[in-house]
Amino acid sequence: MYWHSLKVQKRVIGALLIREIYSRFGRQNLGFAWVIAEPLTFALPVLGVWSLLRAPFERGLPMIPFLWSGYLPLMLFRHIGGRMLMFIRVNAGLLYHRQVTIFDLFVGRALLEILSNLMAVVCSAALFLTIGVLKWPLDLSMFYLGYFYMIWWSVAVGMIIGGLSERTELVEKIWQPISYLYMAVSGFFFLSDWLPPRLRDFALKAMPSIQCYDMIREGLFGRVVHAHYNLLYLSILFSAMTLFGMALLREARKHIEIE
């Protein structure tokens, strides 16, 4: 019985994923290739401009790889959060199909953003490695670990944002400013090691993405980066956020109204 429902869920999420891909990227011109191309069309020009404006090295770290490893996780966070605004409301009609749950709708959307982002990481890395502006990560498993926690963080926030946006329209309005502010404080532009010690301890706890960025950068540049992270802290915090998000999604069913 349990296996059966798991199989149904897998089927439903698969179908939702395909539906998302078609409805977002369409069939014409690039079609599915947009999954990769879309994040790249954002990332490449931005990285290009920055690399012209900034010094090639900052505190001993090469600028382009540093920005590259900052920008793609930032996009993941912003895209997942943005896609989850009112996501239940716009798909409420699908809930008439009893096997489709709100959780499935969430997973379908989040999965597409994650896949799209990871493909952009792979493609841009391949490009940058080839033209020589990026070196192969010194500690690949650390890089993966950091990215994994970054995905978890983005998904947990997306879940909470999605759940709250069904309750009040305020969330939709403040998401833009939040996501800009996030850019400044997320750890995109800095390592926690560069912060004064007292601020650092506070920042690492208050903005957990800084820990994820530290891990990603240590994975990329090796031990020249002194990453500050606590996997237990992150795991507990993100689990709690995920559970809270799931509770919000459950609750959201009480707030949706469809014709």
């Binding site: 179908a15 395909i18 409805s23 409420a92 009609g93 699908l94 008439y96 069913r253 949706i256 014709e259």
Partner: protein, 216 residues
Amino acid sequence: MIKVTGLSKEYRTEEGRSHLVLSNISFTVRRGEKIAVLGRNGAGKSTLIRLLGRVELPTRGTIEQTMSLSWPLGFTGGFQGSLTGNDNIRFIARIYGKPIDELKAFVEDFAELGKFLSEPVKTYSAGMRARFAFALSLAVDFDCYLIDEVIAVGDQRFQRRSHEELFEKRADRSLILASHDPGIIESYCTSALVLHRGRGKVFSDLDLALEIYNDL
């Protein structure tokens, strides 16, 4: 069987007051039974449909279900307009675990949309969309069909075929039919749930039900 017990639904208004849309509704739909849901606008019919469809959760009460219940027949809200008819068929086939070809063949034959099936659903006229939705609902087999008003879609030929599919070929299935139209109810239903201001009562005497409904 679908057994509804003590179903209530409360909404909060903008000012924070609560508004009881359904109050303590109970009824049972057995296999093959065809029940009408009668009620004036605002009596709670649509809310009941949404609760039965499990789109919304009841404030109180339970819905026990041992037979499969369709989504509202002809409901078009679940379509993604930018997807083609075929895409939507594939999606439904996937989530219900049905063979795609089988569903496609049925919809092609029944909705008679021809090459429009490979066009985005948003380009369909209202009539085409309704025909498409109706065909797709029938293509997936259910024990009980949920019908909210829209029973007369399409032209006469389509209506005749719909009638044949729904009431002749699927005569052994159950129906929950919400409608204002006494004619439709008299010809298809065997009992009726009359809703008035959120309260509900089941009548096995259809004439009595209609009489009471007319007096409301």
